[in-house]
Amino acid sequence: MKMHYDVEGGEFINVGTASSQFKKTLKMLGIGADIIRRISISMYEAEINMVIHANGGSIDTEITPERIHVVLQDQGPGIENLDLAMKAGYSTASRQAREMGFGAGMGLQNMKRNCDELQISSVLGEGTRVEITVYLNQES
């Protein structure tokens, strides 16, 4: 089953709407609590990144009995150095975002820790694509 969400940029107040809706869907499907927690944390982090750095974008989700797959695509500035970005505490977030409590540089770490597969591809000046996968078979 596929779903699509559009994420607005610059909207710090309501950030996380798509993740929150998706979470509701997963609960209705009766997916295990631990899996919901992991995919929600990863997707939420990725959604925040899209809002903070890329002025929004789109999210496509796919749920099968085997896995949950989430693709976040933006047309933002892209990530200059992916290895550096993956480091804990490294952040290029704006002052405004930091003042709102975002941009602590832990986002990618959190994502990686909570999902089974994380793929990030980015082209400078064109955008970033984040793919998150969580497998369902470990739990009910």
């Binding site: 089953m1 869907t25 499907l29 631990d34 927690r37 749920i63």
Partner: protein, 442 residues
Amino acid sequence: MSYTHSVTLDWEKCIGCTDCIKRCPTEAIRVRNSKAEIMNDRCIDCGNCIRVCSSHAKKATTDPIEMMADYKYKVAIPAPTLYTQFKKLRNPNIILTALKKMGFDEVFEVALGADVVTEYSKLLVQEKKVQLPMISSACPAIVHLVQMRFPTLIPNIMPVISPKEAIARYARNHLVKKGIPSDDIGIFFISPCGAKVTDTRDPEVFDTSMVNGVFSMKEIYLYLVPIIRELGEDEVEVLQMGSANGIGWAAIGGESTASEVYNRVAVDGIENVINILERMENNKLDVEFVEALACVNGCLGGPLTVENSFVATNRMLKIRKYLQFKGKTRDLNILDSSVSLDWDRQLSNKQVMKLDEDMFKALEKMERMEALYETLPQIDCGSCGSPTCRSFAEDVVMEHARIEDCIFMLREQVRKMAEDMVKLAEKLPPSIRTKGKGGEDE
């Protein structure tokens, strides 16, 4: 069927409007046959529908006061909220004495239960027996909310029984030791809300409550007012045993203050609580303790209270001030280390939002739901009796509603039918049609 919630509907008064369905945090109400029906397994007893109903058709059921007569030895355990309901009254002993005059043989305060629970919770945190951030287990509506909508947070709920249950256990234990047969003892909780009725009749974390009945604070208030008016100063007994901090639990922030947790969030009002729990679920709440109460201003805002909760909050401050300088407490210890404050079993995961036990089927239903939702007006008008277009789509897929229940879909069908009729009406039989009109061969 087990007892699931305290909210009942006065069928005469309900006009079938959309006030309550819109404000229910678990989408547990549907208007059917012009009446707001509650889906029993989804109601968390938060009391929102009681508050928003402009026809006063919803109320929380409590036990009848006559129930006192069933027991030889009657014990009142008032929630501290009761102290804030009376004008110009600062001394809890006056209210506790009035309760005895009303017919109770003994009075023990839930505030004392709160004191004990505070200490025990602190111990659990110190010994790292809990998962941070801890969510207070004091409000049964919040516990139910977590079980239903935030099952991932069940391990974060403080595994301690409520102050009401704690004091009931101590009270019974104390009186039985004094030689009163347990069957003769009737313990009655004076409650600010219906959630605690449910929590007493059908407890989540142990089998049987030590509380025999739950009375509505509103009703007890009416009995107490004339008694308090007549009460002479010299008649006031010293009955208070709970501390100002224990009494403070009734207000939002009270439990946190009592537990001296600095790194905390104290949140009241069910919608606000949902926002905080959402954040917590996303791992974005860097606190140690979440005090969450379903009612605005905490228990002081309970649906069975008399006074406006903001006024009651002001009184709470005055009572605390009074106790600081003039409070008198009773010289009696009913606490006993043999009484357990632990849960007997873990909280269950109540995934009532689940579409189907079988995930394949659930996925298939979800797909149909999404497809149907796309065709709906998406303005959440509520005319179909479901709170939102999305929940309506769910109801249709679950076969609890028909597509035609949506007036927009119905109108669309009528329009199509009218178009078809016009088309049919234009089709004249060959005997009367003139060339080029009403025929097929134009």
